[in-house]
Amino acid sequence: MSELRVKNLRREFGSVVALQDMSFEVAEGEFFCLLGPSSSGKTTTLRAISGLEDLEQGVISFDGQDVTNAPVQNRGMSMIFQTFALYSHMSVEANLAHPLQRDGISQSEIKKRVGDVAELLRVSHTLKRKPTTLSGGEQQRVAIGRAIVRRPKLLLLDEPLTNLDAKLRHEMRAEFKRLHRELGMTMLYATPDQLEALTMGQRVGVIENGKVVTVGTPRDLYCAPDNLYVARMVGSPPINILPAAAVRNDQFQLSFLQSSLEISSAPDGKKLAIGLRPHDLVLAESDITGGVRFSVKIKLTEPLGDVTVFDLAAQGADLKMVLREEVAAQYDVGDEIEVAFDPKNLHFFDHAGGQRLSKE
């Protein structure tokens, strides 16, 4: 039972609190992602779990044992670092063999396991070379190989794709999923990139200021974010946030709409933040029947190939929407268009606290 429980971690660097009350659990064999912006405490969390970082407070238990104060080497974990951290003065083969050398494994067994891992990661042809002579993708795979060669029970990954170009990132995402399926080890993956978290994580924990604020499946986070912060973190292009106030007990007014809309759960006068995913905003004439319609002006277009992101100016609000390329091609900057959304797709949050307000 190699599950990981992290409870109430606290870590300070001088006057800066890196982790405060950080708690979450990772099930055995799970691919768990920690998603948060830079300096939100992802790396510190991973380092604390691995034992590289001391803690002011908190308990880490792994595999049914309290490992909070266990030595780094005895935790049965491996880590892949953002910079890959390959031993540049050693050959690839020596890099891969190094984790095995302390366990009293015979030379022939080491050679066999290094060979196996190299084959699994398709770096067999580089074994005699120095890491600095490899391409970024190969270096990354060697780093993975070094981390898994000892067959750790938990693999920690600290933004492993940050230093790669976009194409390689795409390939490596698939590679990580493949490895997870083939090796079945528990993986804890820290990333600032919502795309990585959503595509790879079975569950995602969203970090804000050294604390996990939400844990959920990628679908939960996208479709029903718990709070404004999560709604903003997840989804690309980012969610449109519209400030509004509940005018009466069950109604609210958006600046660019003539009529007010209904909401059941907001008390009178409460300030709201209303979220609308760019994908839920559509062209009025073609894509929706009914819904709430209003006109906007196109400020900017960002063609992404298959789709184009439109930056729109509505009265008192800036919005983004996504259109398929062939549709988008009919419009240009400066055009006025009629757009619409289904009120069912709105997300309601408390403006001050950011919590989700349920809507029925």
């Binding site: 590289l52 780094v72 390959l86 031993y87 190094h98 050398q101 302390r102 070094r146």
Partner: protein
């Protein structure tokens, strides 16, 4: 990133010519001395100086053997001993300073104390005044402790002089390293000692070589303390060189030049051996890793 550097030799003739001219100007005093060491006394003193002459090895022979004026027999000088002294004293003290300095630099870099920078500053203050300021107290201390004239005395002194320099330089090399490599080694099961010796040191070998050579050059040429604190048995070459100047028969420039030429050789040799490392060492951290 596009490569900013073209192949060697692509700079063109004009740049190459200018560079070699400047190089020649820098090298000319050394060249002068080397040429003089192969000249006879007459050639050495000739005005205008001779560029073409019949070379002789007499000067080099008389560095180590000198014929006595009275008896006419050949007699060994102590120069061989002085060369040994120079090599032994400089090598040992710079080596010791490098060992101590590297350990200290690692500690300063990886386990910073409260007020780390203050300590580093204090270490550096010892290099802020001219050494001559401390010569009298040091001379008295050496006299009292009996270190004057001994190998260990002068080695200790040079080591102490070289440590601040080593600490600062080597610390900058450690600071440049990616600490995640050390963390990776720890997670792989390496002990702290292993992390230091097997992972940190190999990465900064170039820097260590550069530090060694710079220290060696400084120590090799040191004259003031050597003059006052070495004895007959522990005299170094710079001191011995100065003593040949004070002969009763005038200055023998050929002999002097021969000593200097021989004196240059070990440094040339070490620098040549380490030149690849040196170049990497002085440019450490200035290029993208």
């Amino acid at each position: 990133m596009t490569k900013r550097y073209r192949e060697i030799g692509k700079a063109g003739w004009s740049y190459t010519l200018i560079t070699s001219l400047v190089g020649l100007i820098y090298f000319s005093p050394v060249l002068w001395i080397i040429l003089t060491s192969f000249k006879t006394r007459t050639d050495a003193l000739a005005v205008p100086p001779k560029l073409f002459f019949t070379p002789t090895l007499d000067n080099f022979a008389s560095v180590f053997y000198r014929s006595s004026i009275t008896t006419g027999t050949s007699q060994a000088t102590d120069m061989a001993l002085y060369f040994f002294n120079s090599i032994f004293i400089a090598g040992t003290s710079v080596g010791l300073a490098l060992i101590v300095g590297t350990l200290a630099a690692y500690a300063f870099s990886r386990y910073p104390l409260r007020g780390n920078d203050t300590y580093l500053f204090i270490i550096l203050t010892t290099r802020m005044m001219p050494p001559i300021v401390v010569i009298i107290p040091i001379f008295l201390m050496f006299r009292l402790s009996g270190l004057a004239g001994s190998y260990w005395g002068i080695i200790l002194l040079y080591t102490a002089f070289n440590i601040p320099f080593s600490v600062w330089l080597v610390k900058s090399f450690f600071d440049e390293l990616n600490p995640e490599i050390e963390d990776a080694a720890r997670m792989d099961g390496a002990s702290e000692g292993r992390v230091f010796f097997r992972f940190c040191i190999p990465q900064i070998l170039a820097g260590l070589s550069a530090t060694f050579v710079f220290g060696l050059i400084l120590t090799w040429n040191e004259f003031l303390f050597a003059l006052l604190l070495t004895g007959v048995e522990t005299r170094t070459v710079p001191v011995a060189m100065a003593r040949t100047l004070g002969g009763e028969v005038g200055v023998d420039y050929g002999l002097l030049a021969a000593i200097v030429t021989l004196f240059l050789l070990p440094i040339f040799f070490v620098t040549f051996l380490l030149q690849n490392q040196l170049l990497r060492g002085v440019t450490f951290g200035t290029v993208k890793k």
